[in-house]
Symmetry: C2
Subunit: 197 residues, 2 copies
């Protein structure tokens, strides 16, 4: 493509990133070459740094730079509340909102009979252990409102029934959302969960 | 965001790539961490390699690993034809088509009075020199069919008038294109340039 194997190799690797295809990978690589000092070298260094230091928290599945992540290590976050999320991106989204002060448990996906994903693949046994070990009193199931997400939520709820308080995120109209653009399911859920003003 | 400065730094740099925003950069970085051995480390190495070796061809503006690129160095490509393109991505697109056997001249943009881009910024003086030095007989103007692209093409045509044969890419219906989806300008151009069958 570029009559240069180093550059072609970089384009090929970039095209494997989610959200990039061959065309956008070529554009990104040309941009990187143009901004070598400002972007390409710092990006290569940052990747090497993360490759060397990033690891999964053995306790909750978050990514960080130590075997036990900062959140699991922080005594301030031992509130007895445990928020169960599908993946690290969801944990980051919760942290950006900045409203939850407890700890997390990252499942690493959802149960899926089709894809052969069972409870053992999902860090669910570890969840059971943590409830005893960390004196958890409430488990908040913050899973996607998809079929697989809700199947997983129900499975976990069945497993933990009677041992802790189990809650899930409220469903309804998103802040700033216009009714006209919402799907029927969301409107139905929002109406059923309506509140006194 | 991730309560980790190394990872946040990588996300911030990734978000500067064209086609990626903060959200897709986060997704890409999580994907990279998950595929550390398969993708993150090779990508970091490939970037370092390109950062160390990539340079602009002093003759034509192509990117390669030497001061004079492979195309300019190849005697086979001294056909007397010179294809003028806006940027390296356009050169690569021409090379993928594999039909042009001559050399290229990368302008590095288009003339733009608004953005203060004049001929000196665009490697146009170098183009004049090359016509003498390399015995160019035909200059093919492969510039975008935009206002700036066509202004640039006319400027270059004026400059070189009488010294070489000047041509431009044909305009018409793209291969596989459906009339229904084409803009009026393309249909008009295709009709005016209609050919006997």
């Amino acid at each position: 493509m570029s009559s240069n194997t180093d550059i072609d190799n970089l384009i090929e690797l970039m095209a494997k990133l989610p959200g990039l295809g061959p065309r956008s990978a070529r554009r990104a690589v040309l941009h990187l070459i143009r901004k070598r000092a400002l972007l390409l070298t710092p990006l290569a260094d940052a990747m090497q740094q993360v490759a060397a230091t990033a690891r999964e928290c053995l306790n909750c599945g978050n990514v960080g730079t130590s075997d036990i992540c900062e959140i699991c290590n922080s005594e301030d976050r031992a509130t007895g509340e445990l928020c169960v999320v599908e993946d690290v991106a969801d944990l980051w989204a919760m942290e950006r909102a900045g409203v939850f002060k407890g700890r997390y448990h990252v499942l690493g996906g959802t149960l899926s009979a089709l894809d052969g994903v069972g409870p053992e693949e999902l860090r669910i046994p570890r969840l059971r252990d943590r409830i005893e070990a960390e004196g958890i009193t409430e488990v908040i199931l913050a899973l996607s409102a998809t079929v697989d997400g809700q199947t997983t939520a129900h499975y976990i709820a069945d497993e933990l029934q009677g041992r802790v308080r189990l809650t899930s995120l409220a469903q309804g109209v998103p802040i700033g959302g216009e009714l006209d653009y919402l799907d029927d399911g969301t409107i139905t859920a929002a109406l059923r969960a309506r509140k006194e003003m």
